[in-house]
Symmetry: C3
Subunit: 417 residues, 3 copies
């Protein structure tokens, strides 16, 4: 038995593990689109499908030609990768391919988060331009800061990003993926404004109910399923560590779903389906950064707070007349911050205030960078093509105004607004 055999076998185990978990992360695309369809009105369904489907296609091509290199190429002072554009020079059995596929899944998730936040009033073409620029300019830059060296084990780059060098830890991306997407969502919402009819002239919020709750449920369960790949796959190796990662990814969302439902039941006097679902997602976002260094007992607490944070942030945003169609900001931004801090707060090896500072600095820098660059992108897009659908387009529905089609031609539908 030659010396390298055991290494090759372990590598093969890792390839299988990475590729399958990456496919699960890809599958989260189906979760996002089902959730967003269900949470919006029937008249915008095709538009949501088109956005969510094409954003992944565009993200994949841009990540191939630009994003991956910026994220994992040879580092320029810890801020940017500078080589590895277009994978074609690597041989067919090189480790970089599986790594690329896994990382694309993450980029795709981060990219699509904004889609739901600005749903039902954003122009299709403008959104597609956003996706291309997000994948080239926002996500991979942030990714380089926190995960720049991760390609080293797969034969690309290998130097640490500046946040990584400070000791910042974000195991599977509470900040890199979720707070980033959530901060962009907030910027996008502020750029396009609320949906027609969402707030009265005096600011009173009016409920715009999701039109297909089974699809919301399906979407959330698809996302949770994919999240096991998302968090446990981030080990990038098939070994004993993956067990606790999935346990924590079970416990925190479960606690969060219960907490969010209970909190809203207490506040509103009924068990609300949307907050229970979003609460669980908030718990999943929260455990994403820290699933590798906390116990399941801590995961219960992280989840309980994640659920409550989701609930409070949802209510708070509505009071501020910020119209987040699916609750992307509470789930991905607020719980992304929380999860990033939990890395320091609940580390099984003990708490240190310096570490908490680094975590806070990291998630702050990531959120600010994403928010600012996304705001600039939306301002630029507005110059080229419109970003906001007109009142008439919104009332007719984007399916009619953008795609001349009807998602449910055999059903009699009633207009909510």
């Amino acid at each position: 038995l030659p010396a390298g055999v055991a290494e090759t076998l372990q590598q093969n185990i890792n390839y299988v593990w990475i590729v399958i978990t990456a496919a699960m992360v890809f599958f989260m695309q189906a979760g996002f689109v089902m959730l967003e369809i269900g949470a919006c009105r029937a008249k915008n369904t095709i538009n949501i499908v088109m956005k969510s489907f094409l954003d992944f296609c565009i993200c994949a091509i841009v990540f191939l030609f630009v994003g991956f290199a910026v994220m994992f190429g040879t580092s320029w002072k810890g801020f940017l990768g500078t080589d590895g554009f277009w994978l074609s020079s690597f041989p067919a059995d090189h480790g970089v391919w599986a790594f690329w596929f896994f990382q694309l899944g993450f980029a795709g998730v981060s990219c699509t988060i904004l889609s739901g936040a600005v749903a039902e009033r954003t122009k299709f073409l403008g959104y597609l331009i956003y996706c291309a620029l997000f994948t080239a300019l926002i996500y991979p830059v942030i990714g380089h800061w926190a995960w720049g060296s991760f390609g080293g084990a797969f034969g690309v780059g290998g130097e640490k990003g500046w946040l990584e060098a400070l000791g910042f830890v974000d195991y599977a991306g509470s900040s890199v993926v979720h707070a980033c997407g959530g901060a962009c969502s907030l910027a996008g919402i502020l750029a396009v404004g609320p949906r027609v009819g969402r707030f009265g002239k005096d600011g009173t919020p009016r409920l715009i109910a999701g039109h297909n709750i089974p699809l919301v449920a399906l979407g959330v369960l698809l996302l949770w399923f994919g999240w096991f790949g998302f968090n446990a796959g981030s080990s990038l190796s098939g070994s004993g560590i993956i067990g606790r990662l999935v346990v924590n990814t079970t416990i925190s969302p479960s606690a969060a779903g219960i907490a969010a439902m209970a909190a809203m039941w207490f506040i509103q006097g009924k068990a609300d389906v949307n907050i229970a679902m979003n609460g669980a997602l908030g718990g999943a976002v929260a455990i994403t950064a820290c699933c590798g260094n906390v116990t399941p007992g801590a995961a219960v607490i992280i989840g309980l707070f994640g659920g409550i944070i989701t609930t409070v942030a949802t209510i708070g945003l509505e009071r501020m007349q910020i119209d987040d169609a699916v609750g992307a900001v509470p789930v991905h931004l607020a719980c992304g911050w929380w999860g990033t801090l939990c890395v320091a707060l609940f580390d099984e090896k003990g708490f240190s205030i310096e570490r908490l500072g680094v975590q806070a600095l990291g998630t702050l820098c990531i959120s600010v960078y994403a928010f600012v660059v996304c705001s600039i992108i939306f301002a630029l897009i507005k110059v080229i093509v419109r970003t906001r659908a007109t009142e008439e387009e919104q009332i007719n529905g984007l399916d009619f105004s953008e795609h001349s089609a009807n998602a449910y031609p055999d059903f009699q539908t009633t207009e909510q607004a």
Copy 2:
């Protein structure tokens, strides 16, 4: 190459195998909720989503703190596990985590079976209490009897339960998971009574048709997909044995789907979609106990009978005015019994009457225990909160009466009853 390297590599293969198949088992939750939504009326959709989602959340937390220890802890005379509450003392790379995650999936499946049986007339809060008690008092006790020693290979417990010690074999849980959930379903149905309008005053059954057949189809295919993880994952090791497990898990449901459709076509003169689907699930339940010790030729026969048993039991329950909203009792209880007996009837190593006796004893004890304890639990819940929705609540739909919401606000719906 040190001596333990091969063992470590095989363990790593096993971890990957267990975690991925466990995620597939988790995904069966989506199958159950889609199936139940589709098979019930539109006006109870949100209630079904809430039940099916929260039951898993509660099950996960209770299994963490209580259920797992009762099932796999150090045995008290083969009846109960007694230690291992709360996993937090195990190190991060310990084998117990993957094992816990896999076992939780099974507990979650068994827990959610009752949901569909008592759908459309059961109070939300009462159902949640049932789920907590099921996961603490019913499932893990039964599980200890039949599978108590299975944790030994993962460093917890290891002594045999009393059924296991008698030679009882239930490879992946025809009895432990399915007959258990099915017996609880029967107890629950008898406790809450039939839906308003299901039977006329003279006992004539009236069809309450499922409102969304695509979701039924999606649910059944999700369940079948998950079942490959359920049965083949029960090997708990990635090795040559897993191939035949999935082949049998393909053949038996296929034969059962054909048989159930043909039987109902013969009886009713039409090819009925619900019985074809439920028949296939019955075939899956039947092969669950015996997928490890029968040939695919036997799987054809096991499936054919499974399909026919499902059909006959469905007709029989209706005649007895037992209102099982999704057919949980025919699928999980009747085919659970059948599959458990098939372990002895179709063993490729030959038939023995003693073995058949042990199998019959095991499935009987499991079913009786589950039925009795579940009946007590429902009686207790009735004292604290209601279990049955009033006639008015049922007519308005549980979405309105329990959650003040509408699952399909953009669609014009018609009331079946």
Copy 3:
């Protein structure tokens, strides 16, 4: 450490890999049924569910008793396998089981392709007979020609089929699975004729819109998810090669989706959802044959053309008054041809005209054989039972006329025709 340990470990990695990717291929059944439901009218939903569900059940049983042996048994002059009927003689840990399960998934995909093409006007019983004969007489014969030796590594057969012997390469089945299913689809469409109302008396096409676009989106994403298993699983080994297979399976559909949407946007002036989705599937079909020997740069080009071919073929078929209800012929036949040629056109080791000739010959022979035998089968079925539903049956919908049921009894539906 004994000599065979490393081999056993690698084999176990392969078993895990094959079984999981095969389960993903099985899951494509859910993708096909969701896509077909969504792309057709509400009144034919149950019929579609029944067809798509039972075709897999029948395919599994026929593949067990006949198809697998014809495809992978000891070869008769490279044209047919001749032994290995019914697997029951193999021991439980034999490699053949995992291989069978993987191959069944492919047979099931190829079998179900016709379902969508002839939807909304084909009799249920006739379709089921087709499925049995397809799995016995069409698919395994073609499969033997191109892949006959593949069972050798798993202890069955091992001699090359005649196309294989010529050097024909079809990595995961652009021809064997997709062009085969697509050619059968074309034969079926010509046999049953267009749907009532699809073309006016003067031949003017009339749009029959799909009734549930969310299910189309779900179906396409399920198919794409499964395709990672389909293409990368075709390695039949868990090793370094699988990374590039999934990268190519990401890039080509992404490029194709963008190209098809852009092409139709240019032609029709709107971003059409159906063509974007079908374009992506066309890109997936195209990369299927060549994912193992092209770079991702080539995959971009293969995908772009795949998307455009899908668009042009869709428009062309409509002009020829060929009524393909879901676009199976453009996606599976046209892009199947394209992908098979791409093996020679874009081989990273360079182009050779001889090789292109072999590829063209192979896909032509496969398509002609499938088309001719399928035409004969449909002619025979027409003698025994009807194949085409009457005008009245079509207007009432097949759910009513074939199954006396309604897929959406709680919704108010409007008839498109």
